[in-house]
């Protein structure tokens, strides 16, 4: 990519001129996603670098692998492209018969567009080239805002959900960071819980309702 000071995404948004405005005035981003559905259904290289960095900021490497070690960024892109977790459109409840609107080539990738914009704003420039401290500060600001009261619809929620899903359903996340037991073989209804005990990623009820 030519280094013109703008990433591929930013150049397009500057040309389109609408996305930053949309993010600021609150026009639902999925509408912009629909407007751009004829475009190639992939994340840009810059966005892939961004999501790798972001996922590691959420789940860093410790005594167990971190998010990018297990390819969480790839999962997030795949998941968005296929609209997992209701990311293709808001309130993606299916129509009773005949399904909903036709899938869009970019699926939920518009959420990455939004994240790129917000990170650029918070980092005061290209997020991918910012210092680790600035990257952390930018994402912390976004995360803090999203979890403030009334911000349930903030697009960051879906990205964060998918980062967690990508990590804890990976082999390392599910069976090293947490415990995975396919065949417990018994039911112990009341056992002592020590502070060091790890949760089970194979506790399907907890995964669904916890």
């Amino acid at each position: 990519m030519a280094d013109n000071g703008l990433g591929e995404f930013d150049r397009r948004s500057a040309i389109g001129g609408g996305l930053v405005l949309a993010a600021l005035v609150g026009t639902p981003l999925w509408i912009w996603g629909k407007a751009r559905q004829g475009e190639k259904g992939e994340a840009t290289e810059d966005q892939r670098r961004m999501i790798d960095t972001v996922s590691d900021l959420v789940i860093p490497r410790t005594d167990t692998p971190g998010a990018s070690d297990v390819g969480v960024g790839d999962f997030v892109v795949l998941a968005l492209n296929h609209g997992l977790d209701g990311t293709r459109e808001p309130a993606a409840g299916a129509a009773i018969q005949g399904g909903g609107p036709a899938p869009t080539p970019r699926g939920g990738l518009y959420l990455l567009d939004d994240l790129a914009i917000m990170l650029r704003i918070k980092a005061g420039g290209d997020f991918n080239r910012a210092t680790p401290a600035a990257q952390r500060a930018a994402l912390t600001a976004i995360d803090t805002r999203a979890f403030a009261p009334g911000n349930d619809k903030d697009p960051w929620h879906k990205i964060k959900d998918l980062i967690l899903t990508g990590y804890y359903t990976s082999e390392a996340g599910g069976s090293k960071e947490l415990q995975y037991e396919l065949v417990p073989g018994r039911w112990d209804p009341d056992v002592p819980l020590k502070p060091s005990d790890r949760a089970f990623s194979s506790d399907w009820t907890a995964v669904e309702f916890g």
């Binding site: 296929h82 609209g83 129509a95 399904g99 967690l164 009341d190 506790d203």
Partner: protein, 561 residues
Amino acid sequence: MMQEFDAIVVGSGITGGWSAKELTQAGLKVLMIERGRDIEHGTGYKTETLAPWELPFRGMGDAERYWAEYPVQSMNRHFNEFTEHHFVNDRENPYAVPEGKDFNWWRSYQMGGRSLTWGRQCYRWSDYDFGANKADGHGLDWPIRYADLAPWYDRVEDFIGVSGAAEGLAALPDGRFQPPMALNVVEQHCRDVFMDKFPDRRLTVGRTANLTEAKEGRSKCQYRSICARGCSYGAYFSTQSSTLPAAKATGNLTVITDSVVEGVDHDPVTGRATGVRYLDVKTGKRGTATARLVFLNAGAFNSNHILLRSTSERFPNGLANSSGVLGTHIMDHATTLSGIAMMPGFETHTSYGNRPTGIVVPRFRNLDQQDGSGFTRGYSFQGGALQSTWTAGKRAAGLGVDYKESLRHPGPWRMIFVTFAESLPRATNRLTLDRAKTDPHGAPVLNIAFEHGANEHAALADAKGQAKVMLEAAGGHVFLGFDQPGAGGSAIHEMGGARMGNDPAESVLDKWNRAHDVPNLFVTDGAAMSSSACQNPSLTYMALTARACANAVSMLREGTI
């Protein structure tokens, strides 16, 4: 006329398997016809042992494909990447609903039907339930009472294996149980509190068709709680684990899969059903089979569908429909999440293993006293106590090492109450053939007109209030609760349409699940229900099936059928 079989059983799900077992064990030559593909017990459960990281979408599945192919089925909480092949493709299996109404028709077309995916909860009905229509005038009085069905509940429970605790409650009769699975520490606490503060309300472990003791070639439960993938241990009741091997062992069973029954043939001279017509969906060829008895076990709404499609000069509005009530008075249960509470005080406790059942608080409203506000009949709570895991991180601000550490450990306990409220039988809730819309085989699809009424809404409003009162009495902090039901079908307890009754002018089936109009035609799945109670209905379907089979065999031997 020479019949090929003594009996034809349409469908291989929970009741079809029971019909096949009971009739073959009585010595009858039986043909069982299943519209879906075969699935072998054990080897056919392709995803049973897979981990999330072994699936392309980590167990969540491809939402884009679901949107296009499974828009209804994918709303079912049991539908995911591990189980999607156990549900129908909506695009290939359309149905219709009236403008402005919804119905979630969740289906499994395959050997074993929904016995592979069911919730396994097994509850007897009581005379509060069988007497309800007569007592309050909604619907038509049942032609049977609890005493008629009790020995058949015994027979079914003995065979399928139901674990549960005897409680001595009039509203939820005890059965022949295997040892119960234990309550966890929070559930036990709630039970103790309720016994003290609400003497009319009992929390007990969900009575479930999961084995706690091995029996007849089936292992006991391994506490995985991934039943809907299929269980090669045979630890829960399914056609594959239980009734099918029993029927096959007699040498009297013939099975055809991938074949949709398009109609029941009727001889106007004899007045009897002669057999069925079916379409082989793989070859596109049509065939017929003849028998002395026909049992419809296609699933409640599909048994209605077959009868509605089986028209003739004698029965222009559907076979066995001289009353005109066929397809009417369909029901489900009105269900919603009535309350979730944080349950502090148990931070040093956890559990091990995945118990494949929750808890139940049986109906306590409108029993001997009419104490429901604005509603008749009742509801029960199901649910349980659980701890959170990594998914709790979706609700939590934070990044980095501390955040990761916080998700490493089991989270706080919470208790969930989900309500199942009785659905009143109403003539306006009904099934019809939609001649404007056809399925890929050219058949008119089923039109499902259904809505919950004021009674159901009032019951759910009461349930939300009582859930809060009870959970708070147990020390819980309720943070969420709803009082609006999901769309019809959301309980996956759709039933009725060919109701039982004593009067042929007002009902389709007699007290033996036999069509008033056609003496050798039986319908023993959920279509037969005259009311819905608020219990999960499958155990009652099985008991009705076993009872009907025994009676049909007796009549056949006596030459009265």
